[in-house]
Every structure is written in structure tokens, then in C-alpha cells.
């Protein structure tokens, strides 16, 4: 007899626990405003990323097409994956002195893990992280980029 009472009690307590769970489901069914799904490709224009978001390494150029990279290769040494390769050349200054400068700042996006170590290592703040994130391309070669713009040169006074 006690067994039957216990069994019936368990059935009702079980049904109660299911009803409690379903109440939560009904709550969200009737409260549409609490749904927080983002419609990603449609909200591209309003999507804001935080300043520190690590999407891709870029080199900042000012309006005179000048950057701050001296070609010291600190970022190349700091990188764990050989993502950065700096090709240097020698500029001859008006006084006739030879000066080391970058020819090409090659950046392999396909190898980059966005660890931020190169940006931290840079002594002149020449490179920074950009907030881009849609990196898909059809050809792998497009992921190898040259970061310094053509005809650009190092800013005066940056050593």
C-alpha cells in the first residue's frame, strides 16, 4: 500500500517539475523582447567591434603616405609562427649616408594567430591590430599581404 502511495506521489512531483520547466519556455514564447539573437549578415552596417579586437595586423600610414616602421625586425623576432617577414633596403640620404629602411613588410595572414605579440614588441607603434574579421578569399595567395603602401617612407624623426 505504501508503495502505491509513494509511486503516485512521484508521478505528481514529476509532472510538477515538468510544468515548472515548461513555464520557462512559455515565458520566452510570450516575451519576444528577451530574445537576443543577432541577424549577422544583415546587421553588418551596425556591427561595432571593440577597439582592441584582434582581426588582422595593419600598418598605419598618415596623409603624407608615411609610416613609423624603421625595419628593426622586433616584430619578426617576436612572432611565434613566422608570420612577418621584413625585407630591408638601404636609402641614401642627401648627405650621402646610407640608412636602413624597409622595402617590403610581408605579412602572412594565413599563418597569423592574432596573439598580439608583434604589436606589443614594436618600439615605434608602427603596426596595430585592425577590427576586420571577414578574411575569406578564393585564392590562398591573396592572404599574403605587403603592409607598407607603395612609395611610402618612414616618418621624419622616427628612429
Amino acid at each position: 500500500m505504501m508503495f502505491i502511495v509513494k509511486y503516485i506521489k512521484e508521478v505528481f512531483s514529476g509532472l510538477k517539475s515538468l510544468a515548472i520547466g515548461l513555464r520557462r519556455t512559455l515565458y520566452y514564447f510570450t516575451h519576444h523582447k528577451e530574445i537576443i539573437t543577432q541577424q549577422y549578415p544583415d546587421n553588418r552596417d551596425t556591427l561595432v567591434f571593440p577597439d582592441r579586437f584582434k582581426g588582422e595586423v595593419v600598418m598605419a600610414h598618415d596623409e603624407n603616405n608615411e609610416h613609423a616602421c624603421t625595419g628593426c625586425t622586433a616584430c619578426e623576432l617576436a612572432c611565434p609562427n613566422a608570420t612577418i617577414k621584413i625585407v630591408t633596403k638601404f636609402d641614401i640620404s642627401p648627405e650621402g649616408k646610407k640608412k636602413k629602411a624597409i622595402d617590403k613588410f610581408v605579412y602572412h595572414l594565413e599563418l597569423c594567430t592574432m596573439c598580439n605579440l608583434c604589436v606589443v614588441a614594436c618600439p615605434t607603434d608602427a603596426i596595430k591590430m585592425a577590427q576586420t574579421f571577414e578574411h575569406s578569399v578564393f585564392n590562398r595567395a591573396e592572404l599574403t599581404k605587403v603592409l607598407n603602401k607603395p612609395e611610402s617612407k618612414v616618418r621624419e624623426g622616427v628612429e
Partner: protein, 371 residues
């Protein structure tokens, strides 16, 4: 494989679960011997996601190798990085600023909540309930947004560096963490309403996958898996690092030893993490966020070991240095590997349908098991 099948007693069947199976949470391959519905043996096969992280670290400098460890236990990547940074600091004898210590603990505990949230959703999904997964991700998303703002990434942050943290916290950090705690407290009741109190869930968890305290110790289980069997093993309490000994929090212990106890340990642990965050969030000391270190880090000749409590258990980092700029040998003692070894013992004699419930409560992250 052919010999194994021929040597199986009559009536036994060998089935494969994985390496591609939604319940294994990754590329884990289980070779299960069953007799009818009863499990005779569970044999995990590893190696599908081996990336030789330990060997890779030998060619990287002490600053560089930390980012690789985010890829081991990717759900508690902050805590992995923390362990490596602590081990390097131990070798260099660097005193790190108190601001960095507090930031590190805040990040660790946020990561622990995020990890347990994901586990909770995935656990319920393993048992057939799909809605809790989305509810858990709502809270986890709030943590990920905080991480994105301060560390710049959502999963593999690489925020801990030897000597402190990489950047100072974002000006919005404190406000957003407080918002998260308010959100968490308003929603935590849903967890017990939807899953913990549910009769179907309780019947599937209680008395399933029993692991005694003695077995938990002999298999080397740590973290919530061992604490569910009543083994006190919280590294934050037993071997406190950073400023954990000054904080007020409880080590969660359940004595049931079954799947439900392990479930309850994790759910209650989230509340303790919130308690730690509440103590620290208004008391972040002023000062530097990073100690001054040399450009090229070199550890003196010797061996260094540091253990921390990740969301899954004890993570140990063992560095052997020959005095150079790169480690001579690195060994990681990962919690998931030891916890998985107890699965065979737990599952023997139980039904095949309960195996997924046991695996869920072990909180397996396969890249952590198979580095």
C-alpha cells in the same frame, strides 16, 4: 582490430562511438564492448587531434610559448596561460604587481563561469534537451563580450604574459562585469527550473556512473570530477597561488560520487566564482599592470613546476631549463586525460544509454586530453 574481434567472447559486440560523434564533443574515439545493452569495456582511442604542443614549445621562447597553450583546453584558455606565466615567473623570480594579480584572478574566474556555462548547456543537450544550450550561451556571450573588449579575442585571448597582463583593463570592464553578475543572478534560477529539478534529468543522472573516493584518487581524477566523489582537491585552497588565500570562497564537495553529484559540484562552483568576482571587482588596486622584464627572457638552469585549478581540474606545467632562451623540455599535466581514464571503470556494468550521461559529467575537452 581483427584480433580484438576474434578474441571477444561469444555474444559480445564491439561498437565504435566517434571519432565523429556529437556526444564525444570532439574527435574522441571510444571502442565499446557490449553484451546486449550492458557495457563490458570502454576503450578510448586518442591521437586524432595530436598537435605535439609540448614539442612545439621547445622551439619557442618563454614569451611565445604561452599562446600555444590556449589551444589545449580552449574553454579555460586564460587559466592555461596563467599557469605558464606563473611557472616562468617562478623561474625568473619576478614579483608581479598586485593590480596584475587581481586582474588575472578576475579573468580566471570569468573563464571558469564561461566554461561551466558551456558544459551545462552541452550536458543537457547530450541528454536530449536542446533549449538549455541556448540559455547557457546567453550568459556565456556576456562574458565573451567582456573578454573581447579587454583582451581583444573571445576564446584564445593570450592575455597573460610573464610579469603580468598584456594590456590594462578596458575602462568599461568593471561596469560590464557588474552588469554580467546582475544578469547571472537574475537567470540562475532558470537553470534549476529547467534542468536540475527536472524529473527526467534526475532519473538519468542519479546513481549513474558511480566513482568512489578511493577510485577517484587512484585514477588521478581532479577538479569537479573528484570533488563529486568527496575528494578535496581544489588547488586554489590546497596550494594557493596569486592572492587566492586572501579570498573568501568555499571548496564545493559532494559525496554522492554519481553523475548527479558531479553535476551539482559544477553548478554550485559557478556561484563561488561569482562570489570571488564580487569581492575583487571594486577592489582592483592602482598601479602597474605588468612588471618590468627583460626583452629576452632567460630561465636559470633547473626544473620548475606550477599547478593551477582550471575549470576541469589540476593543470600542471613543468619546465626544464638549460639556461637558454627556450625551454629544454615542457610537460603539461592535463586534467582531462586523467579524468577520461576513469570512464572505463565507471561505465562497466551499466547500460549503453547511460554512457553519454557519464561522459557529459566528466566535462571532456578533447584537445586538452590529446595535446
Amino acid at each position: 582490430m581483427v584480433e580484438e574481434i576474434s578474441s571477444t567472447p561469444a555474444g559480445d559486440i564491439i561498437i565504435n562511438v566517434g571519432p565523429q560523434h556529437p556526444a564525444t564533443h570532439g574527435v574522441l574515439h571510444l571502442v565499446i564492448t557490449i553484451n546486449g545493452e550492458t557495457i563490458q569495456k570502454v576503450e578510448p582511442h586518442l591521437g586524432f587531434i595530436h598537435r605535439s604542443i609540448e614539442k612545439m614549445c621547445e622551439s619557442l621562447s618563454y614569451r611565445q610559448f604561452i599562446y600555444v597553450t590556449s589551444r589545449m583546453d580552449y574553454l579555460s584558455s586564460h587559466i592555461n596561460n596563467h599557469a605558464c606565466a606563473l611557472c616562468v615567473e617562478k623561474g625568473m623570480q619576478v614579483e608581479i604587481p598586485s593590480r596584475a594579480q587581481v586582474i588575472r584572478i578576475l579573468m580566471d574566474e570569468l573563464t571558469r563561469i564561461a566554461s561551466h556555462e558551456l558544459w551545462w548547456g552541452a550536458m543537457a543537450m547530450d541528454l536530449g534537451a536542446f533549449t538549455p544550450f541556448f540559455h547557457a550561451f546567453r550568459e556565456r556571450e556576456a562574458i565573451n563580450d567582456i573578454m573581447e573588449e579587454t583582451c581583444g579575442a573571445r576564446l584564445t585571448m593570450n592575455y597573460m604574459v610573464p610579469g603580468g597582463v598584456m594590456q590594462d583593463i578596458h575602462p568599461n570592464f568593471q561596469r560590464r562585469v557588474k552588469d554580467f553578475i546582475a544578469l547571472y543572478k537574475s537567470k540562475i534560477n532558470e537553470y534549476s527550473e529547467m534542468v536540475t529539478g527536472n524529473i527526467i534529468f534526475q532519473n538519468r543522472m542519479k546513481g549513474v556512473g558511480f566513482l568512489s573516493a578511493a577510485d577517484a584518487i587512484s585514477f588521478g581524477c581532479t577538479g569537479p570530477t573528484a570533488r563529486g566523489s568527496g575528494v578535496s582537491c581544489d588547488i586554489r585552497k590546497l596550494y594557493p597561488y596569486e592572492i587566492y588565500e586572501q579570498l573568501e570562497f568555499d571548496e564545493i564537495l559532494e559525496t554522492g560520487g554519481d553523475s548527479f553529484s558531479r553535476y551539482m559540484v559544477r553548478v554550485r562552483e559557478m556561484n563561488q566564482s561569482v562570489r570571488i568576482i564580487e569581492q575583487l571587482i571594486d577592489n582592483i588596486p592602482e598601479g602597474d599592470f605588468q612588471a618590468k622584464t627583460k626583452a629576452v627572457l632567460k630561465l636559470p638552469k633547473g626544473e620548475f613546476y606550477q599547478r593551477v585549478e582550471t575549470a576541469r581540474g589540476e593543470l600542471g606545467v613543468y619546465i626544464v631549463s638549460e639556461g637558454g632562451a627556450t625551454p629544454y623540455r615542457i610537460k603539461f599535466r592535463s586534467p582531462g586525460f586523467s579524468n577520461l581514464s576513469a570512464l572505463d571503470h565507471m561505465a562497466r556494468g551499466s547500460k549503453l544509454g547511460d554512457l553519454v550521461a557519464m561522459m557529459g559529467t566528466l566535462d571532456l575537452v578533447i584537445p586538452d586530453i590529446d595535446r
